[in-house]
């Protein structure tokens, strides 16, 4: 089973890299980008076949390592 994890900065946390991307896009002439936020995408190949167990396990991985929940949110998709 594959787990796809998105880690994003929480609302209200300043994202200086996102700001730089937003400015670069605007300098390149791409108008109409009101905001850019940068995050991380992590893909895991799991040996677990039970969906509920996989979800619980990936959730624990996110809480303990993959995301810093002081500043980041995460979402998990299983396939």
């Amino acid at each position: 089973m594959k787990a796809r994890i998105h880690v994003t900065l929480k609302n209200g946390v300043l994202d200086p890299q996102g700001k730089a991307i937003e400015h670069a896009l605007s300098n390149m002439g791409f108008d109409g980008v009101n905001e850019a936020r940068q995050g991380k995408f992590i893909e895991l190949e799991l040996s677990e076949t039970d969906r509920a167990k996989a979800e619980a396990s990936v959730d624990e991985m996110c809480r303990k390592l993959l995301a810093n929940t002081v500043i980041e949110n995460y979402s998990i998709e299983l396939e």
């Binding site: 300043l14 200086p16 730089a20 991380k40 303990k64 390592l65 810093n68 002081v70 500043i71």
Partner: protein, 220 residues
């Protein structure tokens, strides 16, 4: 005072820390590799600056989960004075021993220069040799020193005297210009500036020396 410096792959201020500790305490510190599970009893644990594990995932994230840190966390929770500089500060926040997180500098620049700090709490284990409000000069060298915590946490830190040092002026976007914070018990300090690089006039100043002397005062 017996001390230990924890060394991770990618630490690069571990020897600066060791020199400072030996010169100030008179005793060579123990250098402890990150794969160790245990090490001799010491009075003081230092987590040095650097780019441990290449800053992969997040600064300090990998180191915070290393074997040796399980032991460091246990000892810090038992009250052993534990001090993290720069990457060491990032590691301490990643372990949860210190609140908040360190993010990319708001202006995205790597900042490397001497900065003026104000001593916010001069009663702590790490700052009792300074005067409250004293301005000191200590170098910084970091890309991710932008301290972040939610307002409730920041209010608590300020209210409880857990903010040890602030930048006299903004250098990296840190909330409330926080440069160094302590845990509630006061035995864990993390700070972005490098006091170990300012311990004698030959290095450009000796304002960092009192940080180590404070700990020695307290330990007796």
């Amino acid at each position: 005072m017996k001390s230990a410096v924890i060394v991770f792959p990618g630490s690069n201020c571990d020897r600066d820390m060791a020199v400072a500790l030996e010169k100030i305490t008179g005793t060579k510190p123990l250098m402890v590799w990150h794969q160790e599970y245990d090490f001799d009893k010491v009075d003081f644990i230092a987590l040095p600056g650097g780019f441990s594990y290449g800053d992969y995932l997040r600064c300090g994230a990998m180191s915070a989960r290393s074997h040796v840190m399980k032991e460091v966390i246990k000892r810090a929770e038992d009250g052993v004075p534990t001090f993290g500089v720069c990457n060491g500060f990032q590691i301490l926040t990643e372990t949860g021993l210190l609140p908040g997180a360190l993010m990319r500098n708001a202006n995205l620049h790597f900042v490397c220069k001497d900065v003026t700090l104000t001593v916010e709490n001069a009663d702590s284990m790490f700052t009792n040799a300074y005067d409250k409000g004293q301005e000191i000069t200590i170098p910084v060298a970091h890309h991710d020193g932008n301290y972040f915590a939610d307002d409730e946490t920041l209010n608590r830190l300020e209210g409880e005297g857990q903010v040890a040092f602030k930048y006299a002026s903004d250098i990296n976007g840190a909330q409330r210009r926080i440069a160094g914070v302590m845990n509630a018990r006061g035995n864990v300090l993390g700070m972005m500036p490098h006091p170990e690089r300012m311990i004698e006039p030959a290095l450009g100043g000796s304002d960092g020396r009192k940080m180590f002397e404070s700990v020695m005062n307290r330990l007796g």
